[in-house]
Point group: C2
Chain length 447, copies 2
């Protein structure tokens, strides 16, 4: 029987687990330092909770789970498969952490302390076409603060981004925009209803250049006058503060735009005062997740590696509205562990110590020695020192090979002399030096 | 829209997460101290990997995932649903951690260092009827050592069980049996082919008593002579050592039985020498997982709570055989996190400190004070101290209520005086005492 796993899924070997856990642990530690609290939701949600929340494309990409028992009873299989699927599948796999979080907040609102700060590190599943860096099972790391519209939320998320990437040793730039500024831009060219068309086009400025963006705007039906009206926006110059001041005059007739400038301006002041170590920029082309973001929009890129966004997020004013709890504002971010893994690999910046899943190996010379080794290995293990005893009295060469492959720091030898004297002989695998010590003293040294 | 989750699944609130993580972390720490290495496998496996591995009942309880796109193409829906399901579902959800582990070992045998010691903490899914303590998504914690038939494996698993429950503060009894001893019993009554019938009946001795076991054996077709031949087994007396010696004479004509006695006897000697803190007993009625265990069988029960098994395992000689790699012996255990949770709840033995997801809260008196608070909160957070700043200048009463509900140890006040003097005023929430200190000194005290 041939062994394989489904397309787009992955096994993780111990060496990969060590690196992945290093990323997860770092992110989790920062979430904890900012007093976010963990929650978990089921992998299976009712399909009715998920359908219609991610657009038509999302509905297609949801993994649906077949009903147990006779799923075919009373089902009309002559209908289109899209109509049959929800009849034979009541449940689907979690598609992101945001919709289940919204459901969770509404369902448990009486048990939650607001403002509620939650983090969640659980896999999600999408029936996307697998490709480099895109998997069908992957692990977003989300933190959200819900139940307050204070810009302190935005500030703390930027500080968390700063702290995570500082700890990981990755230089990043946080790009910030505001949905209300984008709305203001649509306002001033007299096309507020074309917000999506405009932002989709502007979003491509980096990739295709100004002329192509203009062309796309024309193709999307904007008049020449409207396209030209965008010129002052593209011409904005200076740092965030200066750009925002220029926008303020451009937005004289857009209340929404002015509100966006105010929010963004206050946020940049707060960020500057907090002295983050990363670069923070205003990026008016940023339109990520426009569907549900209503205020700030964030995106993070690594400075020294060509890679897409490694973290993103924003403010949403009505996430729980879909589940019947309106008026709860929140702000959240999501770290992309898989891309961060790729960045750290490319920068070769994983700590060297991650590989060491065993610190000490006791060489096994036979039953009597083994019993003596067990006693002292137990002592080390109770102290939490990762310790191995080779399970049988194999040839010393084989045992030493195993020690090398497991990357232990010390090998311990116990022969007649050690048994008689109550000692242990340690070999430092890095230097090759050997040292015989009274057993208890040896244990202290190994700890 | 009503919010709900599928039957048999659960949301975990922060307080539950803290308790669950305490259990997972304890188990993981012990696995690490014994130098087991983590792996992870995909939640989705090819259905062909899973089907036929868990018996007919298991095939029914597998969650099957509907193929993407037009799953109905070329499928004959007039067939029985059991035949249709595998045609419209190529993938299924992980049902346990054992079969995926076997697949993993075979698939990655060239990248693995044998003897391979792996642990795995991931959810599994079963379409079981939900009931108290039984969920459709649950979290076994497995450790296995594969590629050695040394009894050191069995010993280390018992030591790990001892260490986990010692750290958790649960008094347990580890019950040990051996498949070969059960085979020996079947041998001596002249019914080696009735091994399953015999063990299923004997397994009930505790619950239904000796007479009912005899009756069941008769019902299962054993002759009166065969049932009587079991009498000496039921009459065994004394500790493990003594029982094993009696079995040795009973098994004079069963080579398998004698092998079982030898293995068990050596293991008990090793365990005694290792001085575990838990109770370890020989239990000849233990028949758990007989389908694939070939040597030692373990089961763990809490001494002070009436609850089913909270951990179990055993030796299997041919786990990877189903995937084409025969002759690899292994031994493993699985901790049941959900039942351990229930035991700790009933014993009220969760550490009190688990609830504290925030240590410090800075009260927010307005913009100027807030900026000063951000500076010092950042200092605490960089040190890893879970710290909150109330996000807006709400009424102090409301902020103090939030501090109480989040269970912080200290509240920090910053007013005009503190701003002018460069100090922080700390309130110890347990004692109510207040103290004003130079800011840096206050931060050191809070750390």
């Amino acid at each position: 029987m041939k062994c394989s796993i489904p397309k787009g899924t992955r096994d993780f070997l111990p060496s990969e687990m060590a690196r992945r856990n290093y990323i997860f642990d770092t992110i989790r530690d920062v979430f904890k330092a900012f007093a976010f609290e963990p929650i978990e939701t089921p992998s299976l949600e009712n399909l009715s909770t998920l359908m219609g929340k991610y657009g038509e494309e999302g509905d297609k990409l949801l993994f649906k789970v077949l009903n147990s028992g006779d799923f075919m009873k009373d089902v009309d299989f002559s209908a289109d498969y899209r109509h049959v699927a929800p009849q034979i599948c009541e449940r689907g796999l979690r598609y992101d952490l945001t919709v289940p979080f919204a459901r969770f907040v509404v369902q448990h609102r009486d048990q939650i302390v607001f403002p509620f700060r939650r983090y969640q590190l659980q896999p999600v599943w999408r029936a996307d076409r697998p490709q480099k860096g895109r998997y069908r099972e992957f692990y977003p790391c989300d933190a959200d603060m819900i139940g307050s519209d204070s810009l302190m939320g935005e500030l703390e998320l930027v500080q968390m981004i700063d702290e995570v990437f500082h700890r990981l040793g990755i230089n990043v730039t946080v790009k910030i925009n505001n949905r209300k500024i984008l709305a203001g831009i649509a306002d001033i060219i007299g096309a507020p209803e074309r917000l999506t068309d405009i932002t989709v086009a502007i979003d491509k400025l980096d990739k295709i250049g100004l002329e192509a963006v203009r062309e796309e705007l024309r193709e999307r039906g904007l008049s020449e006058a409207q396209v030209s009206a965008l010129d002052p926006v593209f011409a904005l110059d200076g740092d965030a503060k200066q750009k925002l001041e220029s926008l303020r005059s451009l937005f004289a007739d857009s209340a929404t735009g002015l509100l966006g400038v105010d929010e963004c301006s206050t946020l940049f002041d707060m960020i500057t005062a907090a002295q983050p170590r990363c670069t923070v920029e205003l990026d008016l082309t940023l339109a990520r997740g426009l569907n549900y973001y209503t205020g700030a929009i964030f995106e993070v890129k690594a400075n020294d590696v060509a890679m897409g966004s490694i973290c993103g997020g924003g403010r949403y004013d009505n996430l729980t509205g879909i589940f019947g709890l309106p008026g709860v504002s929140g702000v959240g971010i999501s770290f992309g562990a898989d891309r961060i893994y790729d960045v750290l690999t490319e920068l070769d910046r994983f700590p060297a110590t991650l590989e060491q899943s065993a610190r000490v190996l006791f060489i096994n010379f036979g039953t009597t020695e083994q019993a003596y080794c067990i006693r002292w290995a137990t002592e080390l293990r109770r102290r939490g020192i990762p310790t191995l005893i080779y399970p049988e009295a194999a040839k010393p060469k084989k045992q030493m090979e195993y020690a090398n492959r497991r990357g232990v720091a010390y090998v311990v030898f116990v022969g007649d002399q050690e048994l008689a004297d109550g000692t242990l002989t340690l070999k430092d695998m890095a230097t090759g030096q050997q040292l015989t010590l009274p057993a208890q003293e040896a244990i202290d040294r190994l700890s």
